[in-house]
Each structure stands twice: as C-alpha cells, then as structure tokens.
C-alpha cells in the first residue's frame, strides 16, 4: 500500500476509518449504507453453533446452559403437557394479551397526551413533571405500590406494563409535534384552519414517523416489564413460566420462554416496520 494515494495514513485502523468510494447507484458517505442481512444470518447461525458446541463438548453444565436440543425438547414437552396446569398457548396468549392490551392503551392515551404536551405549554406544564418523575424508575420498584393500590388481578399487571410504555409513547409523540415545518402550519392557517384542524391535518400526520419509532421503543419496554408484572400472583404467562421454571432450576424452560418472548417481540417489530412503510412512505423525504 506504499503508493496508495491516501490522506489519512496507513494501517488497518486508518483503512477502517476511511469512507470507501461509492458504487454506481450509491451516494458517497451515506452513513450505514449497504446490506446487513447476510451478516446477520451468519451471526445467528454462528451463535447457535457456538451454543451447541460448548454444550455438546461439555464445557458448560446443562444446569447453566442446556443444549439447543434440550430447549427444543422443553418446548415439545410444554406443547404436549403444558406448564403448571396451563397449556403453552394459554401462557403465550395471556402474556401477549397483557402486553398488547397495555400497549394499545398507552397508544390511545400517550399519543394524544404527547401531542397536547407538544402543542400547549399548559399541558406540558401539567404533565411534564409527573412523567419525568416516574419515567426513570424501574417498574420493579413501584410494582408493590401497584399491587397495594390495584390488587393482584389483571388490572395491576396491565397498568404496570402500561406505565412503562406510556412514557416513551408520550415523549415520542411530543417530539413528533416538532416535525411539521412551520411553512406547512402557516399554509394551513392561511386557509383559515382552526387550531384543531392544524393538529389533525398537519401536526399529527407529520408526527407519524416519530410515533412509529415510539411504538417500537414502547413495545420493547412492555415486554421488558412483562416479567416484573408476572412476578406476583400470576398463574400463567410467559414471564410467570420463566420465573417459576427458574425457581425449580428448569433452565431449558427458562431459555425457551425467553426465546418465545423474543420471537413475538421481533415479529411485532417487523409488523410495525411494515405498516410504517405503508403509512409513511415519505419518511425522510418530505
């Protein structure tokens, strides 16, 4: 590389830090340009192989990390016999219903709340302190309060998940209000629009990309909180399954539960991205 016309020195580091010339049809210097699908596929296969290898070779005891086969076995057994008196599908359904119920509630309340906070200093003044107060607190910390206040039934579980989703939804919608260009807003007003029309016809549609991002972040918080919500007084659910299996050192079931949660969350994320492409094809191009 002695004659290479560089301007940033040599060596591996310098080579990595330099932008490569664009291929035809690409734009030079666009961050993160290129396909990552193949790399991801290789990484997933590699991780599973590594997992299989360390368990097969006996480097790790099955109690700590069961083999992939054992986890699949656990799934098959659970599909057949269920777990602690409820079927696999019931556990899955109960948890999904809790997370999505809370998520929908958080959307219905959080999006208008965030828009209101973005639009009105009064709404911002009222809701900013409580939201910023509870937002950084781990749900586990206020779980006891939720149970004392709302009982040990579904209500406290759904509310706990709801609270963890609400803050990112409201903050996302609030930030989204800023997406509308002032020219778009002025154009609407100059046609005689009311404030409400401006919100409905300009602000809300402009905020959609941010709201979709908030949905993806929010549902992630929801699944994170699920296990906490099912810690107390639950008799079914994936979080409950994971927790009670861990108490009996049934590690294959723990891992199976984790994988099932991950798959549902991943599938939903792709669904949101699919809907996003349909609803806001103009994202980043308006």
């Amino acid at each position: 590389m002695r004659n290479a016309p560089t301007n940033s020195g040599n060596g591996l580091w310098a080579g990595l830090m330099k932008a490569k010339p664009a291929k035809p049809g690409e734009i030079y210097g666009v961050p993160g340009q290129g396909d990552s699908l193949k790399i991801s596929a290789v990484v997933i296969v590699g991780l599973i192989f590594f997992w299989w290898f360390v368990t097969y070779a006996g480097f790790v005891k099955p109690l700590f990390l069961p083999s992939p086969m054992a986890v699949i076995d656990a799934l098959v057994t659970m599909l057949k016999d269920g777990f602690t008196g409820a079927s696999f599908w019931e556990h899955t359904w109960v948890s999904t219903a809790r997370v999505f119920g809370a998520f929908l509630l958080a959307c219905v309340i959080g999006i208008p709340l965030g828009i209101a906070m973005g639009m009105s200093p009064v709404a911002r003044g009222i809701f900013d302190p409580p939201i910023e107060f509870y937002r950084p607190i781990p749900p586990l910390a206020y779980l006891p309060l939720m149970i004392i206040w709302f009982g040990i039934d579904e209500l406290s579980k759904v509310l706990l998940i709801f609270l963890s989703v609400l803050a990112p939804m409201a903050l996302g919608a609030r930030a989204g209000v800023r997406s509308a260009a002032i020219e778009q807003i002025h154009a609407a007003y100059s046609f005689g629009a009311t404030r409400w029309q401006v919100v409905r016809m300009v602000i809300l549609p402009s905020a959609m990309p941010e709201i979709f991002t908030a949905m993806r972040v929010g549902i992630g918080f929801g699944w994170t909180t699920l296990v906490a919500a099912e810690m107390v007084a639950a008799t079914s659910g994936l979080g409950y399954t994971v927790l009670s299996a861990s108490r009996f050192l049934q590690t294959p079931i723990v891992i199976m539960g984790i994988v099932v949660i991950a798959i549902i969350a991943y599938a939903f994320d792709h669904l949101v991205r699919f809907v996003e492409r349909r609803v806001v094809p103009w994202k980043g191009r308006g």
Partner: protein, 274 residues
C-alpha cells in the same frame, strides 16, 4: 364591487398604513424591524420587494398574511383590518410547505378541505388549477417525487384554490436552478395575468424583481423601511413580445438593474460597518 361597499373600500386593495414593528431586546435598545411603512397594493398590481438581508421584507409579508401583528399602524384588505391569517390572502412559501402524505391533487385541494367543501367540489376546483399550472400528468404523484419547480407549481395551485384577493409569495423561486427559475417566472406572470390576482412577491434576485413586477419596492435595513419605489414596464412588455431574455438583456433593463444593485450593495456595506 358589492352594493354594500362604500366609496373607497369598493376597490380591491391592500393598504399598509404607518406600520412599524419593534420588539424589545433585554439590555439593548429595542429592535426596529420595520419603521413607518406605507404601501398600497391595488387591483392587478404585482408588487415586488427587494432588499438587503434584515430589511424586513419577510416581516412585511408576514404582517399582510396576518401571521404577525404590527406594533403600530394598521393593515387592511378591501377596507377590512387584517387581524389574522385568512383565505383572502394566500401564501406561497419557498419550500417545505407541501404535505408529503398527500398526492398532488389532495395537496392542491388541501385549502378547500380545510374550508369544508365536499370531495367532488374540492377536486373540481383543484383540477382547474392543476390544469392552469400544467400539472395534469402528476395529479396522483407523490409530491416528494416531483422536482423543485413542479413542487412550487403545486404550491401556487394550492394557493389559488381559495380564490384569494392577493397572493403573497415569499421567495417562491429561491430554491430553483437558474433555468427552471426563468421558466417559473414566466409561468407565474401568466397565472397572474389569467387570474387577475394582486401579488406581493419577495425575491433576492434583482433581475427577477425587475422582470416580474409592475411596482418595485426596495427596502433598507436598520430600521427596516421602504427606501425606493420604482414603477416597472417589463412584465407588460413581456406579454407583448413573449421574449423574456430579450427584455432582460435590453439596455434599459440592465441600467436599472445596476442602479438597484448599487443601492442594495450600499446597504450591505453599511451593515458590515455598523
């Protein structure tokens, strides 16, 4: 000309009377964005505002649009005092004003939707202006797929749908490349002639200002004020000859262009020594 109108107010006109805008800055003397502006825009006038940056031309446009209230003086349209934005004064912005989630037809019909017209009427009216601006093939296109010049046509078509008395154009061609810009100038002149609207047009291009306006106001900064007014013959000449380049290359045009450039350069110099 309604029977209800009284003497002066019957003529369509925008009247800016003794308007000043100032706002306080903590610890400094208050900023005089506009001082004692007087301006009459009459039916069929195409008024162009030109001036060094900070001279308050956009402020003046925002005042007429009703986005801002004057500190002193008053602005009226057809005898009625302007107290806020309204459909009788449509604004065409430099950019970012279209709604990317709507196609061209729905963007043009946007103002009509706000005003509560049903779909059929909206689309009928919108299609008329889409035709006037030569956008028929793009009715169903997404706005972000159009070129800058086409997007600006959509903005103008949209502004016309509410049948405003005046079109307020805030550097509408500032973001276009030179060739597209010249074609757009001619298109806007034709639209102006065919619709008979009053126009208040802001630009940074002296050539554009001279070519398009029937009346040119040159504004100067600190405090923002109208320093010179010119009556212009060139757009009328364009309608007679149809040859825009010949007009822009004529000696009379060039002499006036240099005279105005001198004024603006002097203002900019003043800014650097201030």
């Amino acid at each position: 000309m309604t029977a209800l109108g009284t003497d002066n107010s019957t003529a369509k006109a925008v009247s800016v009377k003794n308007v000043s805008v100032f706002y306080p800055v903590p610890g400094k003397p208050s900023v005089h964005a506009l001082k004692n502006i007087n301006l009459e825009i009459h039916e069929k006038d195409f008024v162009v505002a030109l001036g060094a940056s900070g001279c308050g031309k956009s402020t003046l446009l925002n005042l007429i649009a009703g986005f801002m209230a004057p500190s002193e003086g008053e602005i009226s349209l057809n005898g009625r005092i302007v107290t806020g934005p309204g459909a009788d004064r449509s604004v065409v912005f430099q950019k970012h004003a279209l709604l990317p989630w709507l196609n061209v037809l729905d963007n043009v019909a946007f103002g009509l939707k706000i005003q509560g017209h049903d779909r059929k009427k909206r689309e009928d009216i919108a299609r008329g202006f889409i035709k006037l601006l030569g956008l028929e093939q793009f009715e169903q296109s997404a706005t972000y797929e159009l070129s800058g010049g086409m997007q600006q046509r959509v903005g103008i078509a949209r502004a016309l749908t509410s049948d405003p008395a005046i079109l307020l154009m805030d550097e509408p061609l500032g973001a276009l490349d030179a060739l597209t810009r010249e074609r757009a100038q001619e298109l806007i002149l034709k639209v102006w002639r065919d619709t008979g609207k009053m126009v208040f047009f802001i630009t940074h291009s002296v050539e554009e200002a001279l070519f398009m306006g029937t009346k040119l106001i040159v504004m100067s900064p600190r405090p923002g004020r109208i320093s010179h007014v010119f009556d212009l013959p060139f757009s009328r000449r364009y309608f007679e000859t149809g040859n825009a380049r010949a007009i822009k290359a004529s000696t009379e045009f060039i002499a006036l262009r240099e005279e105005i450039l001198k004024i603006i350069f002097a203002d900019e110099e003043g800014a650097h020594h201030a």
